[in-house]
């Protein structure tokens, strides 16, 4: 058995392993892979997501167990320190020796730290590893605690520098970008597009300083500023250096492999170095006198090295490497493909620029006007995939090439259809998946939907940029096979939630059967469409869940949360979390009387558990007599508006967060939505109410409230994003009315605001256009609809206990007053709990 040692467990080193073990003869080889970082390879391309969720696991390329399951020995936290080429052995920093037959160098690169005086000071970071990020987060947290308006600068306005700028924003520091060149992203953008990008980034709060050479870092022990010239100083509390990368070639140099003048291990088109048994792949490899800092060429190199080791010598690296990229930088689309900067001798450029909307599009067309040579897109890269494919496959372009980038007036696309692509068109360049492979996966029955295509072809698992195209191709292929693509909510309706919303509203339906009989597929409904229609009728007609209770979901049906043993929990509303001692005592007495387990909920309310169906109305009669009302903890509706105590008590408070939180909770109580909605109001930027973790969050600042939208906790935590700044109470309510109503109108069933907002074409910017600028001209309607719901609010528990017909359902037996005799409770600390499930 031959031994392969891979030095470097980064994305490309991992990809070598993944591709290797998928080969037929892989079992004749033993792979050992070394990584100097403490954890297995992770996705560095999406590193900035770590700031949103701090979830290192989610970034992993594969869990540590994957390596073992595939017979690969993974050794992390141990650097390879020496290579002995004559003996064919390596020695690690822990002085262990390993022999190899083939050595694969995948050591990648390290951030370049320019020799500026003072870079060693505390508060200066580089941006490369999860450890770097953890260091930044800890430092930023410390800074913010001492200094609420702390500033952080990023040195370097390239692609990675702007990613780091996003990280600074996410950490809640005032962001500054300092670039030596006179423009941002000098390697990808021309001057005009760079200017458009700069304007756009400034509009979202980044401070950009161009043509700045940093002379020294100021401060004693820790950084306090950057000095550019004699009287040119920028005061900052933290600095992230992102001034380019340098290949990690020190090992290669020490063992005498050929390296380039400016670093990198020289390789030929088989990825072989100057030593026949040593290969180099990824950002360490100097191929065609170039270092390729993108993941797609790195993966191609891994594939070539795999095939070469296995003796398939005909597999070689392509001569020309496609450096096209599409990214979302701080929410702004930026893409360049082919030859972005083309000399006038080779062709003509067509440029569309609209600074009012921060849009720039440039395409370079051959002199004969027949082919596309490259281009740049800033602000809107939705056409990138098609343009990129046209370029790659040298497809014919329209006679008037300007159509490719001009905004379509009639909505028709100048591109034709994804199905027009040739079969060999590479749709996913990270994983080298062609259109033909995607279509074949569906045609031969391996996959029947997008998820299936992704799992069997791996398309879209790299940078994810091709996902929209994979989706379009999948749907088009399914359609061509006569398989209808399901957009309906379930087997009973071919309509989407949004379609049903419109229909119910226009036709004025008031019962489930009317909707089903007129627009359904002839069936009788199910647990998916019934609660959905119930929720829509609540949104449109302000119905409570009492009206047609048999179509309500489990909890709504009995206006309580069903728990593990079929008993219920009861949560009265405590707006903003403010409660009087008398009300607290009342809750305690009621809980005692009915022997209920009592706990403070995650939404800081009081939850009373263990009520039987028969007890629910009795408990509610007492709660209502003490002035409580339903908390709607059981509904897909507003739960709580969590507040900190704000300026009423807190010495730091900037505004009355409790008063405003109560007002908002009382305004939106009871409205039914596609999913639950939570709010938060913080009285200052210390953010004790965790408002940015809510669907809507407010933070009091100098001059008003900052309004954030689209956050949540749960399985995929999201921070809410800034919708508007320094607005007064009235404007907050106006924007929130519009935002929530727009969400209620257009989201999919059970889609939280975060997922809805993210999947809207145009994302948060589109939300701003609709909510703030009223682009669709519906703002007034949205406000009116919301006001109607607010006016028609009625506590559904009060409604139920006063109506004998509605009360009939709160009996365990229809023919007996007995309770469920199957219930068994066991003691739990000083309270009780249901007997554990067997």
């Amino acid at each position: 058995m031959k031994k392969i040692i891979v030095v470097g467990n980064g994305m490309v080193g991992y990809k070598f392993c993944e591709k290797f073990v998928a080969q037929e003869n892989a079992e004749n080889f033993k792979i050992i892979i070394f990584g100097e970082e403490p954890r297995p390879a992770y996705d560095r391309v999406h590193l900035s997501e770590f700031f949103e969720n701090q979830n290192a696991k989610a970034l992993e390329m594969a869990p540590a167990t994957w390596y073992a399951d595939n017979g690969i020995e993974l050794i992390t936290g141990e650097r390879v320190a020496d290579i002995n080429r004559t003996e064919k052995t390596i020695t690690t920093a822990k002085d262990r020796e390993f022999a190899y037959d083939y050595l694969v160098m995948a050591t990648g690169s390290s951030p370049f730290v320019p020799p500026i005086k003072g870079v060693e000071k505390e508060g200066v970071f580089v941006y490369r590893t999860i450890e770097d990020l953890e260091g930044m987060l800890a430092y930023a947290a410390k800074l913010k605690a001492e200094k609420p308006n702390a500033k952080a600068a990023v040195l370097g306005g390239g692609l990675l520098g702007l990613e780091a700028g996003k990280a600074v924003l996410d950490m809640g520091l005032e962001p500054h970008i300092v670039e030596f060149a006179p423009k941002l992203m000098p390697r990808q953008l021309d001057t005009r597009s760079s200017q458009v990008l700069k304007l756009k980034l400034e509009s979202i709060g980044l401070n950009i300083h161009l043509s700045k050479a940093t002379n020294q870092i100021l401060g004693d022990k820790f950084i306090t500023g950057m000095e550019f010239g004699e009287d040119d100083i920028l005061n900052v509390d933290m600095l992230i250096i992102s001034a380019g990368i340098r290949p990690r070639d020190e090992l290669a140099k020490a063992c005498g492999l050929d390296v380039g003048v400016r670093g990198g291990i020289v390789v030929d088109d088989t990825m072989k170095t100057s030593d026949d048994n040593i290969y180099a792949i990824g950002e360490i490899a100097l191929y065609n006198q170039m270092i390729y800092g993108l993941v797609a060429p790195g993966y191609d190199m891994a594939e070539v090295a795999v095939q070469q080791v296995l003796g398939n010598s005909e597999v070689k690296m392509a001569e020309e490497i496609d450096m096209s990229t599409k990214l979302k930088l701080i929410g702004v689309d930026v893409a360049s493909f082919g030859e972005p900067f083309m000399p006038a001798s080779k062709g003509h450029s067509i440029i569309f620029e609209n600074k009012t909307e921060y849009l720039y599009k440039r395409i370079n067309v051959s002199l004969d006007g027949k082919s596309l040579l490259g281009g740049i897109l800033v602000g809107d890269a939705s056409d990138y995939n098609m343009l990129h494919q046209m370029y790659l496959n040298d497809m014919k372009i329209p006679e008037n090439a300007a159509q490719l980038i001009l905004p379509a007036s009639d909505g028709a696309s100048a591109f034709g259809d994804v199905t027009d692509l040739p079969d060999e068109a590479q749709v996913c360049s990270c994983e080298s998946v062609t259109k033909g492979q995607i279509c074949a996966a569906i045609e031969n029955g391996e996959a029947t939907d997008v998820a299936g295509v992704v799992s069997c072809t791996k398309a879209g698992t790299g940078c994810g940029g091709c996902k929209p195209m994979v989706t379009d191709l999948t749907n088009a292929t399914l359609k061509s096979l006569g398989i209808t693509v399901k957009e309906g909510v379930c087997e009973h309706f071919d309509l989407s939630r949004q379609d049903l919303y419109q229909i119910i509203k226009v036709k004025g339906y008031t019962t489930f059967n009317e909707v089903l009989d007129n627009h359904g597929n002839g069936g009788h409904g199910c647990e998916l469409c019934k609660p959905l229609v119930a929720s829509l009728m609540a949104t449109i007609n302000a119905d409570t869940a009492n009206k047609e209770y048999a179509i309500q979901d489990s909890n709504d049906r009995f206006l309580a949360n069903i728990q593990r043993n079929g008993t219920y929990s009861v949560v009265p509303r405590v707006p903003g979390g403010e409660i009087t001692p008398d009300k607290l005592i009342a809750l305690g007495e009621i809980a005692k009387k009915y022997d209920l387990y009592t706990k403070i909920t995650g939404g800081v309310r009081i939850d009373l558990f263990g009520a039987t169906l028969n007890q629910l109305p009795l408990i509610w009669k007492e709660l209502i007599s003490h002035g409580f009302e339903s908390g709607h903890a059981y509904g897909k509706s507003l739960r709580t508006v969590k507040t900190c105590v704000g300026s009423t008590w807190c010495r730091y408070g900037m505004d009355e967060s409790v008063s405003f939180g109560i007002e908002l909770e009382n305004r939106y109580r009871g409205i039914r939505a596609p999913h639950k909605i939570k709010g938060g109001v913080s009285g200052c930027i210390r953010e004790c109410a965790e408002a940015r973790g809510k669907d809507f969050g407010l933070i009091a600042v100098e001059g008003g409230w900052n309004l954030y939208v689209g956050g949540n906790g749960g399985a995929t935590p999201r921070h809410a994003e800034l919708l508007a700044e320094q607005i007064d109470n009235e404007t907050v309510i106006k924007y929130l009315d519009r935002y929530l109503m727009f969400y209620m109108r257009t989201a999919k069933p059970l889609q939280r605001t975060a997922a809805w907002q993210e999947r809207l074409e145009g994302g948060l910017n589109y939300v701003k256009e609709v909510v703030i600028e009223d682009k669709l001209g519906i703002a007034e309607d949205l406000e009116k609809e919301m006001q109607t719901l607010v006016n028609k609010f009625e506590c559904e528990w009060t409604q139920a206990v006063n109506n004998p017909e509605m009360m009939k359902r709160f009996n365990h037996f229809v023919n007996s007053k007995d309770d469920d005799d199957n219930l068994v409770f066991v003691p739990m600390r000083e309270q009780k709990m249901p007997e554990p499930w067997k």
Partner: protein, 125 residues
């Protein structure tokens, strides 16, 4: 827990010896259910108005052995009338009792008849 399930045996109409008068038609919601107590048994009874039919089955869901099926939503799965458990949405055919979205054992179903305004459930004992 086996003993709870042993209490419920699918009963065909031919095997009915006792027609138990459970409640009146108006005690059940349209296209919904309620629970009936018969000796030591809890029976879920559904008024499937859209089909003009009545169904009865054990109230206990075989998934976690809780007495909850009568509180579930009803509907159909490709034409088969079904009930969805309110706890984890396990669905069961109201005709055969079969678990439609998993491999749990079938639930016991019972015949129902309506005479005048009264709903009767058929038991073998």
């Amino acid at each position: 827990m086996e003993t709870i399930l042993d209490t419920y045996k699918a009963t065909k109409i031919e095997a009915v010896n006792v027609w138990f008068k459970a409640a009146s038609v108006n005690d059940f919601p349209a296209d919904g259910g309620a629970c009936v107590k018969y000796k030591n048994k809890q029976i879920a009874v559904f008024n499937f108005t859209r089909l003009g039919k009545w169904y009865a089955c054990q109230n206990v869901c075989p998934h976690k052995m809780e007495m909850v099926l009568s509180r579930g939503m009803i509907g159909d799965d490709k034409g088969i009338p079904k009930v969805a458990c309110p706890l984890h949405k396990k669905t069961f055919s109201l005709e055969s009792g079969e678990n439609l979205n998993g491999d749990l054992g079938a639930i016991a179903t019972y015949p129902v008849k309506v005479e005048g305004n009264d709903v009767y459930i058929g038991f073998s004992e």
